[in-house]
Each structure stands twice: as structure tokens, then as C-alpha cells.
């Protein structure tokens, strides 16, 4: 199959150059990339289908520790694909994948994947790994997430990743609804210096202040959070006595 595809590509390449690529090149534009096809089927020269690991809707795979990427910030996706390809974020699975994507393919994938819908709740097949966490760990995780542990120099995760860990801008990705194993692996990667510390080396500094219990608790807590902000909670009762 692989051979046939390769042969077909070789056989049709000159014709394509003649019919399609020439005008595109003349205008300085590369041939268009179909991101949806890459997601579903791979790019045909080294990158397999994204859905093979990240799940049919790219909502992640808890058992494998593969992250949800649907709805992820486009600039963040591009930055991570670049880091995975150049090895500043070391990952044996993603290295060959990211390396075989062209710059245009990365850009198109980032735009396409970032626009995919994020459901209010993850399918049960995705959010496993949560039930194993103890109530005590979840409670410790909630505290780390919302308050941090400042005497140990730990900000609350939400202070940068947004309320409920929904993610903020291009630099602070969502934690909500990510597989616990994925979060654990990333914190371990920063501790072991196999993932560059990111902007300001912030995550390297923070991960290195976390104990194994902190890591497990934060991961379990965020894995259990809905990936989209909950509908507005009951309004606060404002203070202020009426004169």
C-alpha cells in the first residue's frame, strides 16, 4: 500500500508540477494543505492520522496519556509542533510526526484543530483515570489549582491557566479535562529537563517545586474538570449594607 502510494506520487508528480504547482509557485504560494485529511488519514509521508492517538474528535486518550488538542490555541499548537520537531520538547512518539510535517502543514493543522469544538463534558471513554484518585488527593489538587502553596513558592495553577484551568491565550494552555497521565508526564518532563521550561522558564521552576504528591493531586484534579467553562455559577451576593 505504502509502495503503491509512493509510486503513484512519483508517477503523478510531474503532471502535478505542470498543472498545479507551476501557477502556485509563480504566485509564490505553496500547494494548499488539507488539514482535515491529515487529521483523519495522515499526510502520506511520515505523519500518521492525528486521530490515531488523540481520539476521533481529538479530545485525547486517557489511557495513553495523549492530550486533548481540539480547541487548543493555534499559536500554542504551532509552537509545540516546532519544539517537538527540534527536540526542545523530547517525545519519542511525536518527534517523527512533527518532523515530517512541513511548516505549511503545521500552520494549517494548528488553524484547523484550534477551531474544532470542545464539548462541555468529555465522553466517559476519555476521562478515565479520575475515579482512581482519592478524595484527599482531589482536595489537595483543588487547593493547589485554585490557591497554590505560596510558602513553597507555588502559585495556584488557575492564576495563569485561568479559572478552572480553561487556558489563557497562546502561552497558558488549558489543563481542564486533560488526561491525568498527560499532565503527570509533562510535569515530570520539566523536572527531568526533557521539555524546555517554556516562556520565562516558568514551568520548569514551578514543576521543580512540586512533590510527587503535588503532581498526582493536580493532575487528578484537572482531569476531572470540564473542558469548557461551567455556565455562570450562582451570582455572588454582593456585600454592602443598604443605608
Amino acid at each position: 500500500m505504502q509502495l503503491v502510494r509512493r509510486w503513484l506520487r512519483m508517477a503523478t508528480a510531474p503532471a502535478l508540477v505542470a498543472c498545479v504547482a507551476m501557477p502556485a509557485r509563480a504566485q509564490g504560494r505553496p500547494a494548499p494543505v488539507n488539514a482535515a485529511t491529515i487529521v483523519q488519514q495522515g499526510n502520506g509521508h511520515g505523519a500518521p492520522a492525528c486521530i490515531a492517538c488523540h481520539g476521533p474528535q481529538l479530545l485525547g486518550n486517557a489511557a495513553g496519556g495523549f492530550p486533548r488538542i481540539a480547541g487548543q490555541n493555534a499559536d500554542y499548537i504551532q509552537a509545540q509542533l516546532a519544539a517537538l520537531a527540534n527536540g526542545t520538547r523530547k517525545n519519542a512518539v511525536m518527534l517523527p510526526v512533527a518532523s515530517s510535517l512541513s511548516a505549511a502543514e503545521r500552520q494549517a493543522l494548528a488553524a484547523y484543530i484550534s477551531a474544532l469544538p470542545v464539548p462541555a463534558a468529555l465522553p466517559t471513554s476519555v476521562d478515565s483515570g479520575v475515579s482512581a484518585a482519592s478524595a484527599a488527593a482531589l482536595s489537595h489538587g483543588e487547593r493547589l489549582a485554585t490557591r497554590g502553596d505560596w510558602p513553597r513558592g507555588l502559585p495556584g495553577c488557575d492564576q495563569c491557566h485561568g479559572p478552572g484551568g480553561i487556558g489563557v491565550g497562546a502561552a497558558f494552555p488549558p489543563l481542564a479535562g486533560q488526561p491525568a497521565l498527560y499532565i503527570t508526564n509533562q510535569l515530570a518532563a520539566w523536572q527531568q529537563k526533557t521539555r524546555a521550561g517554556g516562556p520565562l522558564d516558568l514551568m520548569a521552576a514551578i514543576a521543580n517545586r512540586m512533590t510527587p504528591a503535588d503532581v498526582a493531586a493536580a493532575a487528578a484534579y484537572y482531569a476531572a474538570q470540564p473542558p469548557r467553562p461551567a455556565p455562570h455559577a450562582a451570582r455572588a451576593t454582593p456585600a454592602g449594607s443598604r443605608p
Binding site: 513553597r152 492564576q159 502561552a171 522558564d201 467553562p229 451576593t237 454592602g240
Partner: protein, 320 residues
């Protein structure tokens, strides 16, 4: 790369000089892991009680309300809050963190004479100033439930602290004057490299969903010209001890002064004590090297283009 190694160096220096917090040392010995030290300050002698120790009674309810106002100010005290800041933006960890103007140290320092208004202030009057200036809003009347709640929270955090004592970790650290005069252009470079990630290149912070995650540092949604943080020395001390969030203590003193000069070198809401003209207001309230009000910075006469003080509280319906 350069930034990364600068942080690594600063952290290394912090460890070498032994500035490990007492609490951290304890956590460290109790855990099999070897987490790296936070770039912490000298240990504060006082520790407030944990939230889990809040009493479950009528007083505890008021303490909890105080904590909510402190952390979600616009949501819980909307009648008095004119901008999108919260108390916690400048008093980190819900007012618990040493060197971040902790509430427990403030509580035991009042009543006190303040040169800012020339008389002895109670703790509630001091907090009225926070709402009027830092929150660019309106002072709650003395005895208002917002002030009672915040006072209860501060009082409870100060459990066991001595009245009228100067506790270690109070206020923000006073930085020695820098070798070079604070400079707007150098500060702008520090801002771009170390602050814009969270606060945005335009200084307006970042929002997610309904929440202001990173606060705006200038412009109509920030603190007004009368706020303590509009003083370059105060801002420099806060920044040095606490910024970037989670990396406190990593900027040099010079960088902290320069970036404070930059942040406080932008227009923000008018000083609510406005005395008829920018010049007179400077003379009366800002006659100091630590204020840029009434000075021309980066080609702008600061104070001359300020939006009126009060922010969203200006449009609020009158009290019923």
C-alpha cells in the same frame, strides 16, 4: 535563552545565600522529593492560621465573606469597585504572603497616623483608601458590611500576632535607590521580556471566559493616580518581591525600578483628589521623585489625559 540563564543564576544565588523559607525547609524534610527552592525572601516570623481553621459560626461567615471580597472584589463588592482589579492582585495569596503587604501585618498596625491624609486612620478608614484609589471606586461608608467583612478577615489572619508590632514581611520591601535613575526606555525592555507574557504588550492584562486572569497595569481599568502602587518606589518593591508571578526575587533591583518607572509612566484614571489642574494636583499630592503624575513621560503629560476617577462606580445607581 538569555532570560532563562538569568533566572537560573538568580535562583542559584538565592539558594547559595540561604534564603530558604522556614516553611519550605519543613516541607522538604517531610517529602521524599527534592523540589527546588522558591526564590523566597527571609522567612517571615509570623504565619497566619490555615483557611481550614476558620470558625464555623456567625463570625466565621463574616471572615469567609471578607476572603471572597478580597479575592473576587468586583463580584462581591461591585458598588465600591470601579476597575477590574482584585485586592489579591497586590496582596498575593489572599493577603497571606509576606512581603506582599500581608493583611495580618497591616491589621496590627492600625490605628496609625498617615501623612497621606494628615490624621490618625482606623483600619477601616485605611481600607476606604484602597477602594477609592487602588480599586478606582468608591469608599464604602464606615461600618458597611464590605469593610466589616474585610476587617474580620484581616483580624482573623492576624490571630496570635502582637498588636502594634512591626512584623517581618509587612508591606513591600523598601528597595535601595538604584545605581542609575529609573528609566522608562530600559523599563520598557524589561516589561517586554518579563511582564508582557502575562500582562500583554499593551499592559492591559488578559481575560479568559468571564474572568480577568492577569490584571491591567495602566489605562482606564487599572488603579488610579492616587493609589500607592502609582508610586514608583512602592511598585518597585512589590515587583522585586513578587513579579513575575512565581518568580519573585529574580529581577535585579535596577530592573525592578526601571520597570516600575515604565508601568507608572502611563496614563491611568484621574486622582480623585484632583485639585483643579494637573499642576496643582501634582504640587499638592505628587510632589515627589516617586510620582510621574504631572510629568511628561514618553511625550505625554501624565494626568492631563486621565479618564475621570471612579470607573464603573460612576454609572452605578445611587444607593437606595
Amino acid at each position: 535563552m538569555k532570560t532563562g540563564s538569568a533566572i537560573a543564576l538568580a535562583v542559584a544565588v538565592g539558594v547559595a545565600t540561604g534564603v530558604l523559607s522556614h516553611r519550605f525547609t519543613r516541607a522538604h524534610t517531610a517529602s521524599p522529593a527534592t523540589p527546588a527552592a522558591a526564590p523566597a525572601h527571609a522567612p517571615a516570623a509570623f504565619s497566619p492560621p490555615p483557611d481550614s481553621a476558620m470558625p464555623n459560626d456567625e463570625f466565621g461567615k463574616m471572615v469567609r465573606l471578607g476572603r471572597q471580597i478580597f479575592r473576587h472584589t468586583g463580584q462581591y463588592a461591585p458598588r465600591y469597585t470601579g476597575n477590574s482589579l482584585t485586592c489579591e492582585n497586590c496582596h498575593i495569596d489572599g493577603g497571606r504572603l509576606a512581603h506582599s503587604a500581608p493583611l495580618w501585618a497591616a491589621y496590627v498596625s492600625y490605628p496609625a497616623y498617615r501623612s497621606k491624609n494628615g490624621h490618625v486612620n482606623t483600619f477601616q478608614e485605611r481600607m476606604q483608601g484602597c477602594f477609592r484609589f487602588s480599586m478606582n471606586g468608591k469608599a464604602p461608608p464606615l461600618g458597611d458590611s464590605a469593610l466589616v467583612a474585610l476587617e474580620s478577615y484581616a483580624y482573623w489572619l492576624a490571630t496570635g500576632a502582637g498588636v502594634n508590632t512591626k512584623l517581618d514581611g509587612r508591606g513591600y520591601p523598601a528597595l535601595p535607590r538604584p545605581a542609575q535613575a529609573p528609566d522608562y526606555a530600559r523599563g520598557g525592555q524589561v516589561f517586554a521580556q518579563r511582564c508582557a507574557l502575562c500582562h500583554g504588550t499593551d499592559g492591559q492584562g488578559q481575560r479568559a471566559a468571564d474572568a480577568q486572569v492577569f490584571p491591567p497595569l495602566w489605562g482606564p481599568n487599572s488603579y488610579n493616580w492616587g493609589a500607592g502602587m502609582a508610586g514608583i518606589d512602592k511598585a518597585a518593591g512589590f515587583i522585586k518581591a513578587n513579579m513575575p508571578l512565581g518568580l519573585g526575587g529574580t529581577l535585579s533591583d535596577q530592573e525592578a525600578w526601571d520597570v516600575a518607572m515604565f508601568v507608572d509612566g502611563h496614563e491611568r484614571p484621574q486622582d480623585p483628589r484632583f485639585a483643579g489642574s494637573v499642576e496643582q494636583t501634582r504640587q499638592r499630592y505628587h510632589d515627589s521623585a516617586n510620582s510621574n503624575y504631572g510629568k511628561t513621560v514618553n511625550g505625554v503629560l501624565l494626568g492631563a489625559h486621565a479618564v475621570p476617577a471612579g470607573g464603573s462606580t460612576r454609572n452605578a445607581p445611587p444607593p437606595r
